[in-house]
Symmetry: C2
């Protein structure tokens, strides 16, 4: 199933279903039936223009969304107009398995860049989990990792300086993109504006600007034209006090493999 070519850009080669599969395979091996089932679930999709909401605070959630292409964010807004991006979604990310249990959305999901999202019904989800235990496990893992990322963001905003905070975010995104085959040689798409970065890190856009300049001056990154290049990962990791353990990318699932 693996060719030299897929090793370079598997996502392009297999089409848009692959980001999810890549992501879930960071946890556990999937059979070709599993992968086919993911392909099935992905057939009902739509496009959302950049800067538009996929779903808004107060709406009733009807589907699980799955990002196929592009970036999205979860954000919350305060009555005084302040806005916090509380999470980012890259290809392969689910937005809340099981949301439809809740009556209303307590936050909005917005497209950062033009977005291709699958819309999955509750019925499709329960069919999937009923028939494919491997995927069910992997979805649980996905939810646990999502929660862990949210906690790391709390730590990031609560305790790290602006410099460390931005460094940390850049590394995290690079790593997440890497696991779905969207980053190579320290380089990846990076559609966030400095304004988005500000909203995600709890800083102002002006300060983000100056801090990015510092990161560039220190030879750690390049960032322009929506492309991020990490120049010195070890030093960046050090500067950010980055510990990848919270992403649980160490194939945890394998200790459950013996059961099947």
């Amino acid at each position: 199933m693996m060719s030299p070519l897929t090793d370079v850009r598997p996502a392009l080669f297999f089409g848009s279903g692959t980001a999810v599969a890549s992501k879930l395979e960071a946890f556990t091996r999937l059979s070709s039936d599993d992968r086919a089932a993911l392909g099935q679930i992905t057939r009902n999709f739509r496009f959302v223009d950049a800067r538009r909401d996929v779903i808004s605070e107060g709406d009733q959630p009807r589907h699980v969304h799955l990002v196929l292409e592009g970036w999205a964010c979860r954000y919350k807004q305060l009555p005084d107009g302040k806005r916090q991006i509380v999470s980012l979604f890259v290809p392969g990310d689910f937005c809340d398995v099981n949301v439809y249990i809740l009556k209303t959305m307590d936050h909005s999901i917005g497209a950062i860049s033009r977005l291709k999202v699958a819309m999955i019904t509750a019925e499709e989800m329960s069919a999937l989990t009923a028939e494919r235990p491997r995927i069910t496990q992997a979805l649980w893992w996905h939810e646990l990792v999502t929660a862990a990322i949210q906690r790391e963001w709390t730590l990031n905003i609560g305790q790290r300086s602006a410099y460390e905070r931005l460094a940390h975010l850049l590394i995290e995104l690079h790593l997440r993109l890497n696991t779905v085959g969207r980053a190579h040689h320290g380089r990846c798409d990076f559609p966030l504006t400095q304004n988005d970065l500000a909203d995600a890190t709890g800083l102002t856009a002006v300060h983000v600007n100056r801090t990015l300049q510092e990161l560039r001056r220190d030879g750690l990154i390049e960032l322009e034209r929506k492309q991020l290049q990490i120049l010195d990962m070890p030093r960046l990791i050090d500067a950010a006090m980055f510990n990848p353990n919270y992403l649980h990318l160490d194939h945890d699932g394998q200790h459950l493999d013996s059961n099947e």
Copy 2:
């Protein structure tokens, strides 16, 4: 099943199993069988002294923990010694349904006050979910609300001022305690030190101290001897820009009731 007395202090009256039931019943009605099942799962417990870890970062998670009495926190520590409390647990809260899927803990759970925690095995959890669909639904709700709280904390730390931030935290905790029958007439136990509050809000203890004094001066709260008294809830809610929607306490589950 309800007597005038239980209306005042149900937790004391029914014993320690009740906090969970109260919490889950904020989402859906439970049958007496459901409640009995929760009682079963609660039989294996232990005590943890204040300021000790229940489980530490790096450990392998073996049980789901359920707080029966006392308060606990989830925290993460940075190599430079900084510490962030990323969540708080009060009676009735589960610490990560399904953690045992992961190989290692990416954070620690520590006791704030002396703690009584139930230890639930993976087998007990799957037996419970297999037999009690109502509880399974309610556990999903619990997980979604936990995630929503984490997002709200991100917003809180990222966008609110020290004054708003503390006000917000006090309201949230009061409300959560209220749903498990641990708050009455604006009053509740509050075992957090100012140091804990600092670690939870991303402020320093000195600044927490001064900010609490402001809240007192403004006639919004009293806080001493580990007791919190909210004096003017409407004004406090206003000051904190508090919107309770993220706690999903509006009995969302009832729109699923018709299925059974």
